[in-house]
Structure formats: C-alpha cells, structure tokens
C-alpha cells in the first residue's frame, strides 16, 4: 500500500491495492475505531458509526466471499445476502443517496459465480492488463508504421 495513502501525492489506487485495502487494512482499522467496547460510547455518533461499520463489513464480507479461490453454490447465496444487507443498510442510513448501475450489477455476480465458478477464471483483469501494456507502447499514430 502507498505510504502516503489519503494524500494527493499517491494518485489513484490500482484494483489489487483496493482489494488489499478493503480486505485487510480497512476492516481492522474501522472495527478498532468504530466498534465500541462494553460500557463506553452510548451517544448518537457511536451508534451511527456502529451502523455504518455493519453495512461496510457486509460489503467487505461479500467481496471476500467473491474473491475466494474455491466457491460453491452456498458461497454465492451468502454473498448475495451480504450484498442485500449492504444495499438495504445504505438505503436506510443514507436515504438521499442515489444508487449507481454498479450496485445493481453487483447483485448479478452471485449468479455468474454459480454458472462459471471462481471469479479469477472469468473476470476481465487480464484483458485490462493487456490494454494497459498496449497503451504504454509508443506509437506515431499511423497504422502499420
């Protein structure tokens, strides 16, 4: 992970960096900061943070299941449940938030996992990588020369 994460200097994160951030760094940090231990923090902010933590962890749980190197029909069903928990929680906590097409698209992923197996065998990242390599080749913008 970039050492200066959060500042403008590090630029955009790559997809795999987002994965590491979401599945390792973020949950540990958020639970440590937002999960109140017994007998402390009964104010509104603490409750709100705990609710946001719950829906965030629903999303991260769905991602972790989706990225599993082996999968089953049950994995896909549990992933669907976590995604629905996340979207319903988002709607409840942020009523004015406008959902994006990707939110809808994500709900179809469990279906594809059931059809084609673990995502690594059919996701588009290898193609994206090739596109990135091609984009870095110097050309004179003249076809065939």
């Amino acid at each position: 992970m970039p050492a200066e994460l959060g500042s403008a200097q590090h630029g955009k994160l790559k997809a795999d960096q987002w994965r590491v951030l979401g599945t390792t760094f973020l949950p540990l940090t958020l639970i440590r900061l937002w999960q109140a231990s017994d007998g402390e923090g009964n104010d509104d902010r603490t409750t709100r943070c705990a609710q946001i933590l719950d829906i965030t962890l629903s999303l991260l749980s769905a991602i972790m299941i989706a990225l599993s190197h082996t999968t089953t029909y049950s994995h896909a069903d549990v992933m669907q449940q976590h995604l629905l928990d996340y979207l319903r929680g988002l709607k409840e906590l942020f009523p004015n938030y406008k959902f994006r097409p990707n939110h809808h698209m994500a709900l179809h992923l469990p279906e594809y996992i059931k059809l084609y197996g673990p995502v690594h065998s059919w996701w588009a990242f290898p193609f994206e990588r090739i596109i990135g390599m091609l984009q870095h080749i110097s050309t004179n913008y003249k076809t065939g020369m």
Binding site: T24, P27, L28, I31, R32, Q35, S37, D38, L57, L60, S61, M64, I65, L67, S68, H69, T70, T72, S74, H75, V78, Q81, H82
Partner: protein, 217 residues
C-alpha cells in the same frame, strides 16, 4: 582475517542474519579461483593451453550441506524422534507457491496459522526454525519449529462478529517451541498491535485465499 575464519562464521550459531544473507558474497571472496591473489594467478596457468577457461560468471556458490542446529531446535527434534536422525536447518521453504521463512529471515513470512483440530479454528504462530529431518535412512521430511501465540481470555472480541474476516484478538506473547509437519500450516496471517480496553494485544487476520462459509444475519 584468515579465510578459514570467514568460512567458520556461517557454521557458527549466533551469526547475525544480516551477515548470513551475505554468505554468497563471502564465499566469492574466499574462493581461491575467484580471488585476485597469487594462488588464483597460479591456478590460471594449470591448463595445457596456458589459458584459464574460468571466469567469474562460471562461479556458482553451492550452499553447504551441513549446518549447525541451534540447541532449542535440537531439543525439539530429540523430543519428537526417539532414534537418532540427521537434520538440516533451513532459512526458508516454498510450498505450493507460498514461502515460509524463519522469523530472523523474514518476519512476515514467518507468521502462520496452524490447524487446531477444531474446524474453523486456527492458532497463530511464529516460525523460529525450519528443518529437514532424515528418517529411516533416506526419507527426508521437512518440519517447522514454531511458537504459538497465547490466546486471550476476552469476553467481547469485536472481530468475532464478522466471521468472514477470519480475524481475532490474540495475546502478543509466545508459547514454547514445538515441531510441526508442513500440513499443519493453514496459511499466513497479518497482524496489527493494538490497545483494547487498556490492554496491549494484537489483531490477527488470516490471509487465506479461500473464504469460510459463514454469515451472521
């Protein structure tokens, strides 16, 4: 310093890991054919054509076949195997694309989760030594000597509420050294030292690439 003293540095227990990592450089330094000395000059004329075919690129360092076994590891092996056996100490081992190292070689690669015998429950440990034990004459079996982290008697572990994370709070203190076969290793883990309810402890998060099937409604 005499070259024999340099050779002995690596067979001696207690040599710092940073020096051990430089072993190929030292070997090159003390190898007679790669030194620019009178010996190497004479050696260059030991062929009929008076031209040496040896170049620096030909030099290949071969790791020693014997190494000193630390006392703690030796006791561990003796406690596990009744009969005398031959053992070699290794700094790292790669199995199915995953590299396991001793804690002095690479702290991250030495952090492992051991199977506990209870499904879904794993115990974090630190690899202190890796060894290959020769049993029954020609059967070589690799083992790791690791110390398990001690569990915490905590009523409310906040990470247990999210089982998909495969994370939990553990004591930072290590237990006794034990010898384990490679199939006892589940995966690596990452850890974060934290202070929770006034106590110093660490969060352990599994780096397993296979998700367990759990959901808390």
């Amino acid at each position: 310093m005499r070259s024999s003293n340099l050779r002995n540095i690596f067979s001696r227990h207690g040599t710092p890991q940073v020096v051990r990592n430089c072993e190929p450089i030292f070997q090159r330094l003390i190898h007679p054919k790669s030194r620019s000395t009178l010996v190497s000059d004479i050696l260059q004329f030991d062929h009929d054509d008076n031209v040496s075919t040896h170049t620096d690129d030909d030099f290949q360092w071969t790791p020693p076949k014997s190494s000193t076994i630390p006392d703690a590891l030796q006791k561990c092996i003796q406690a596990t195997f009744e009969a005398d056996c031959e053992a070699v100490s290794l700094s790292h081992l790669t199995v199915a694309g995953r590299t396991y190292s001793t804690s002095t070689q690479h702290m991250g690669n030495s952090q492992i989760l051991l199977k506990s015998g209870i499904p879904g429950r794993m115990i974090p440990a630190r690899i202190d030594y890796i060894t290959q034990v020769t049993v029954s004459g020609d059967l070589v079996i690799p083992y790791i000597a690791a110390r398990k982290y001690q569990s915490l008697d905590l009523a409310n572990d906040p990470f247990q509420a999210y089982p998909c994370l495969q994370a939990g709070l553990w004591n930072e203190h290590l237990g006794d050294l034990g010898l384990y076969p490679l199939d006892a290793i589940e995966t690596h883990f990452a850890r974060l030292p934290i202070s929770w309810e006034g106590q110093c402890m660490m969060v352990v998060i599994s780096l397993n690439r296979v998700s367990p099937l759990k959901h808390v409604p």
